[in-house]
Amino acid sequence: MTVGQSRTQTVVVERDFAHPLERVWRALTQPELMEDWLMKSDFRLEIDHRFHFQAEWGEIDCKVMEIEPQRSLTYTWSAFDVETVVTFTLEQIETGTRLRMEQSGFHADQKHAFRGAESGWAAFFHILEQTLENY
């Protein structure tokens, strides 16, 4: 079995929407609109703002990390003690807006990694990939 490194390490979903970028940005950042497609939350477009998404199965703890108006938005996403980071990137294209969602895993321990990048998740999945190939 071969496990694609990018698939396991990061979840990426990208789609082109036939709508202006400004509208997509609003849908990503206004709680009343977010509720309609994502989940109910007490989100505010403000660095370091802590908020929760209310999922049917429980709460997701989040914190706004980065804001680049009309370009990108990053927040942490912790559920079941697993911290991931979600980044939305918007790009204007001829037909509207290209939206990319990237959810990368386990951000928390990047900060206090035991031996820096070599023990990060990227390296880990690389090893995992090699190991699973032998099965």
Binding site: V3, R7, T8, V11, V13, R15, F17, H19, R23, V24, R26, A27, L33, D36, W37, L38, A55, W57, A79, F80, D81, V82, E83, L99, M101, Q103, F106, A108, D109, H112, A113, F114, R115, S119, A123, F124, I127, L128, T131, L132, Y135
Partner: protein, 107 residues
């Protein structure tokens, strides 16, 4: 997007533990002593990490004489891969709904 195997994620969330597990994946069966030499933490610390890894089903120990040999069960990682698949489906479905919201905003 439920995480069926909560333990697995928690146990691998710790970098030292992940390193121990990586080492077992790469080098095959190891004793606590050999693992301690590589981990850069004390032997009791390594033993504690091994207990957690065993509970998550990532590591098994077998007795050889006076020592226990530990080995990795990398097939226990499948839930991690399944998690990525589940998250992908989750976001795909949410993007469908986003498209509806955007259409409505147009009106």
């Amino acid at each position: 997007m439920m995480l069926q195997n909560d333990n697995l994620f928690k146990s691998l969330g710790d970098p030292t533990r992940r390193r121990v597990f990586e080492h077992l994946c790469l080098e095959g069966d190891q004793t606590v002593r050999a693992l301690t030499e590589r981990a850069g933490v004390s032997q009791p610390a390594v033993s504690k990490h091994l207990v957690v890894l065993k509970e998550a089903g990532l590591v098994v120990g077998k007795q050889r004489g006076r020592e226990t040999l530990y080995s990795a069960r990398s097939d226990a990682l499948r839930p991690l891969i399944e998690w990525a698949d589940q998250m992908t489906s989750f976001w795909e479905a949410r993007f469908d709904r986003l498209d509806d919201v955007l259409k409505r905003m147009d009106q």
